[in-house]
């Protein structure tokens, strides 16, 4: 099995930045509530992730 660092290196810098941003969002919510019980919160996180990707990859 590959090492975690090798997997990160196997992708582009854009994807690495996006992953860092996504994990930051996840951590922010993790500290507030137990999210898997809250569907609306799950949607909120999903939308923030979509926005991060849309901002990074735009016309």
């Amino acid at each position: 099995m590959s090492k975690p660092s090798e997997i990160l290196e196997s992708t582009t810098e854009t994807v690495r930045d996006l992953i860092a941003g996504i994990l930051e969002v996840e951590r922010e919510y993790e500290n507030k509530k137990n999210i898997h019980l809250d569907k609306s919160l799950e949607r909120q996180i999903g939308e923030r992730i979509c926005k991060l990707i849309e901002k990074e990859i735009s016309e």
Partner: protein, 684 residues
């Protein structure tokens, strides 16, 4: 997390308000709570569980939590309050969790709970302000996941079950939960359920027919794959349960005198057969690898002979390797010196001759290629000669292993028949029933293995079909702007998912391997069987191995003490690794600090294991709380733990029973009803 204080009111034996303050200093991290049977040790363990999660593991369930003395002494229509309050520190913040329930007896009937229990969680935040959690249940779960609590609050006499876990799901969950890996898993799920879904829809809506059609097909494939995945998971779970049941039956058959010898022989044969199966699997892998690397040589005879002849011809004619290197001539020209040492300054004719030599020399690249190809061709010719014999060797070894497996299987069938016959002939119903059930489980296991195999193949095909569709789309994509952006976003989201999944798998694997080492270190310090070791398999199964001839086999039939030692090593390893990760503050997984609360950790152990476990327990976690009886504590255990004890309490048990043999100050007979007081110090 460090538990500061536990306060109880009217909970089980604990009448009125009582409290315990726990030790948490670095060198004196152990709190010992002494108590005889019935005094409330298990009730204290359950006080934590009920306080945090509203869970208890009493045989009577949640019905009888209210103190008997409180009930008897209450006046008619009194409403009785019961609570558990736990003060603790987590990540630098001080918390207080209090769960309260109220009880009332109407018309002289039994006391019943009025509504459910209520949890209140307050804390002092980073700014020093007092705050109350709006969502205390989920907040607690966030600080201290409920599904992991059985690893930290446990009854030592029942802990051995962990070591016999057939299902790896619990261990995988524990590793994932404690190391904070679920954040990566959750990010992957959110990307998949929201981002990929959204961008796929945008792309579909803005796509021309072909692309939309391709995406539609892919969605169908994904749906089918999800169904296959769900079935696979269910079958794997059933497979685990079946194997566990066979293990239990084997254990029971061993205890029946009439068939014990046959059963032992059966277990030996299973071990031999499993070893042959494992060897066969490894042999197949070795063969595949060998054929992948060298199989082509079987078909390359003409080509290799042709290359060899061509190179030999060049060598014979003196064309390759070259007689003189271009670099050598360049060096002479740069130094303006002939090979004999004579100066070439002004010697036009000589310089011209050297340049002619250089023009006829062979370039370094061709020289190197000639040397490399000559070496490779010769090596391939040499190796080709052994390909056939190696492959024949693989086939012969595989035949031998197949014969072994067949022989062992036949013998196992005979043993099954003999055991059934003994059951029939002696009319021992238990044997017949166990053997019949064992056969049913074995057949179900074989059926499940086939089903899992077929489903895995289906799954592989579905993944290949999905990849083919993705490739197809690459060729039919329209170059419209919106479509291009949507496609780029979808690709990015898929790539993010791929990397997150890969990271999750790799980090889980890394954590699992690290944990395996730590668990084995603890295990080695306690276990007294030479050569035994414990490890966590790739499937997250806690496995104890022992030497068997020149290899190792799994210990299937651990004694209660051995199973308890294995489980304690696992929990200790888990806590130690979580602490190590927490200290390192790693980017992707964080760990944490957790206490261990154990009821009767030495209960089922013999004196030697008691002593070894006692020495190991204070080092298992930063904070240890243990509940012990006098007989468990006295002697080696007390001596081994004493220097780590920072707080000590005794449960003074008032009982209506008159016990003539009571030789301890902590059991006080003659009371009208049963209740317990918490007293500081050790009252033996």
């Amino acid at each position: 997390m460090r538990i500061r204080k536990l306060s109880l009111k009217n909970f089980r034996q604990f009448f009125g308000e009582q409290s315990i303050t726990f030790a948490d200093s670095e060198n004196m991290n152990v709190t010992v709570i002494h108590g005889e049977n019935g005094s409330g040790k298990t009730a204290l363990l359950n006080a934590f569980k009920w306080g945090f999660f509203e869970q208890v593991d009493f045989d009577t369930g949640k019905d009888d939590l209210l103190s008997e003395r409180a009930r008897v002494e209450a006046k008619a229509d009194d409403e009785l309050e019961m609570y558990i309050e736990i003060e603790f520190e987590h990540d630098g913040l001080e918390y207080k969790a209090r769960r309260t329930a109220h009880f009332k007896a109407s018309d002289g009937a039994e006391y019943r709970a009025v509504g459910g229990s209520r949890l209140k969680l307050s804390f002092v935040d980073e700014q020093g302000e007092f705050r109350e959690s709006n969502n205390p249940e989920t907040h607690i779960d966030q600080l201290f996941p409920q599904r992991l609590h059985s690893y930290f609050f446990f009854n030592g006499e029942r802990i051995e079950k962990l070591a016999n876990l057939n299902s790896s799901a619990e261990i995988k969950d524990a590793v994932k939960g404690l190391m904070g890996l679920e954040i990566i898993e959750r990010a992957g799920r959110h990307v998949s359920e929201h981002a990929i879904k959204k961008f796929r829809k945008v792309l579909k809506d803005s796509s021309s027919g072909d692309l939309a059609d391709s995406l539609q097909k892919e969605e169908e494939l994904i749906g089918r794959k999800e169904i296959v995945d769900a079935k696979l998971e269910a079958f794997k779970k059933s497979l685990g349960e079946n194997k566990e049941e066979v293990k239990q039956i084997d254990h029971r058959l061993k205890d029946i005198q009439e068939v014990a010898a046959l059963q032992n022989r059966r277990l030996e044969l299973i071990e031999h057969r499993d070893k042959s199966k494992k060897d066969l699997k490894e042999l197949k892998e070795e063969k595949v690898e060998y054929i992948s690397n060298y199989g082509f040589l079987a078909f390359g005879e003409n080509m290799l002979n042709c290359v060899h002849a061509l190179l030999a011809d060049k060598r014979d004619k003196g064309e390759l390797p070259g007689k003189i290197r271009a670099q050598f001539i360049d060096d002479l020209l740069d130094a303006e010196t002939c090979i004999c040492g004579r100066s070439l300054k002004g010697e036009k004719a000589s310089i011209e001759t050297l340049n002619e030599y250089k023009a006829s020399s062979v370039s370094d690249d061709i020289e190197n290629a000639f040397i490399n190809v000559s070496g490779a061709a010769q090596s391939m010719l040499d190796r080709r000669a052994e390909v056939k014999s190696r492959i024949q060797g693989f086939v012969a070894r595989a035949d031998g292993l197949h014969r072994d497996i067949e022989k062992h299987t036949d013998r196992l069938d005979e043993i099954a028949e003999s055991i059934s016959a003994i059951g029939r002939d002696h009319d021992i119903e238990d044997i017949q029933q166990l053997e019949d059930r064992r056969n049913e489980c074995q057949q179900a296991t074989e059926h499940l293995i086939r089903e899992i195999g077929e489903l895995s193949t289906d799954r592989k095909t579905l993944i290949q079909d999905q990849e083919a569709l993705e490739n197809e789309r690459v060729t039919i994509k329209k170059q419209q702007s919106a479509e291009r952006v949507a496609d780029a976003r979808l690709s990015a989201a898929k790539e993010i998912k791929r990397v997150l999944d890969g990271m999750y798998d790799a980090l889980s694997d890394k954590v699992k391997n690290e944990l395996s080492e730590i668990v084995n270190d603890s295990f080695q310090k306690i276990i007294r069987k030479p050569g035994w070791r414990v490890h966590i398999t790739d499937d997250y199964v806690l496995q104890v191995m022992k030497p068997f001839g020149d290899h190792e086999i799994e210990v299937r039939d651990k004694s209660t003490g051995e199973a308890q030692v294995t489980s304690l090593s696992f929990i200790g390893g888990l806590v130690a690794l979580a602490k190590r990760r927490y200290a390192k503050k790693e980017q992707f997984y964080r760990g944490g600090l957790y206490p261990i609360v154990m009821d009767s950790p030495y209960g089922s152990l013999d004196p030697e294991y008691r002593s070894k476990v006692a020495s190991a327990i204070p080092k298992l976690a930063d904070q240890i709380i243990i509940m012990v009886s006098n007989s468990q504590w006295q002697g080696n255990v007390g001596e081994a733990v004493e220097k780590y004890v920072g707080a000590e309490y005794t449960l003074l048990y008032h009982t209506p029973e008159k016990k003539d043999d009571t030789s301890t100050a902590s059991v006080i007979p003659g009371s009208d009803f049963e209740y317990t007081e918490v007293a500081e110090g050790y009252h033996a």
